[in-house]
Amino acid sequence: MRIKAFFFILLFLLAGELIRYLFKLPVAGNIIGMVLLFVALKYRWIALSAIKPASDKLLEFLVLFFIPYGVGLMIYFDLIKAYWLPLSIAVIASTLLTLYITAVILQKSGK
């Protein structure tokens, strides 16, 4: 059951990579695969129960898969150290702005 579900996910990944390659899209193949899977579920081309055994397992360990990238930050310490202040300012200002814009649109139009 889970092997079959995992195989389906790999098919969507493959389809995403193919579409990216054929149409030379500037979006990663696995993100295209993710959108394809969403669309396929929405239009009932495939049942959620056929995917869920594998997707739940993959998502349970999702965090584990990007820890090595986080550790990779260590080679860039010196590079980033030189910019830590403007970097923090830009990131914090942009995050607060995003929070506010999103919230204010929903709050103002929700009444």
Binding site: L10, M34, I51, L99
Partner: protein, 229 residues
């Protein structure tokens, strides 16, 4: 003796050990002690103390990151489940997230340009608001360094988790739906964890906002960078 093979086992093993250790901290519920952040910091300290270069660690680490391929596809199933929970309000929420998400990318790029930051940092941080696996893919795509992205994206999430709600309240935002959507759009999964603590409505809104913004940012970032840079 095949030493390459041993390094592979070491890289995967040490990641698993710190992942398991950090998971145990979760029950203290202190946002600064975010388990992912703890695992990453723990491994970095370990490698520094024993003077192990990142390249050696990454022989195994790299193999774990290959799973991001199918895992990101699996997010599609997760998004679908969230979408089913909230069909009615979807149009307004989508508009808010699309504008908020694009604003997140444009603002970080413009702020960094104004502060005179180098190009590789701008490319690495343009997608800072979305969930780490998607952000990492976007960064690879636009020519940034994914190792920089992962750390900062998690830090953004922790920041949103700790200060987001306080900031929104100060700015006069009281709507539960607005608070949820904002946390999910700006601070992805880690912000969503905070929204879930606030209640069911902010939790669901935040989850969907995070999903939507993942897609919005993946599609818009290459275009925005092309237009601005």
């Amino acid at each position: 003796m095949n030493f390459f093979f041993l390094w592979v086992i070491f890289g995967i093993g040490i990641t698993l050990v710190f992942y398991a250790l950090a998971g145990r901290i979760k029950r203290f519920k202190i946002a600064f002690l975010n388990p992912v952040l703890l695992a990453i910091v723990g491994i970095i300290i370990f490698l520094k103390v024993f003077d192990i270069p990142f390249e050696a660690y990454n022989k195994g680490g790299k193999i774990l990151t290959y799973f991001l391929g199918p895992a990101v596809v699996a997010l599609g199933a997760f998004f679908y489940e969230k979408y089913e929970e909230l069909r009615k309000d979807l149009r307004l929420l989508s508009i808010a997230v699309i504008i908020g998400g694009i604003c997140g990318v444009v603002s970080i790029v413009v702020f960094m340009l104004l502060l005179g930051m180098p190009l590789f940092l701008i490319q690495s941080l343009a997608a800072k608001s979305v969930t780490t696996p998607i952000a990492v893919e976007i960064t690879k795509n636009v020519g940034g360094i994914p190792d920089i992205t992962a750390g900062i994206v998690i830090a953004v999430g922790v920041f949103g988790n700790v200060f987001g709600l306080y900031f929104l309240n100060k700015m006069g935002i009281t709507s539960q739906r607005a608070i949820g959507a904002a946390l999910g759009t700006a601070a992805h999964g880690i912000g969503t964890a905070r929204a879930i603590e606030e209640g069911v409505i902010p939790g669901v809104y935040s989850g969907i906002a995070m999903c939507l913004n993942g897609i919005v940012t993946a599609v818009s970032t290459p275009v925005i960078l092309h237009l601005i840079l």
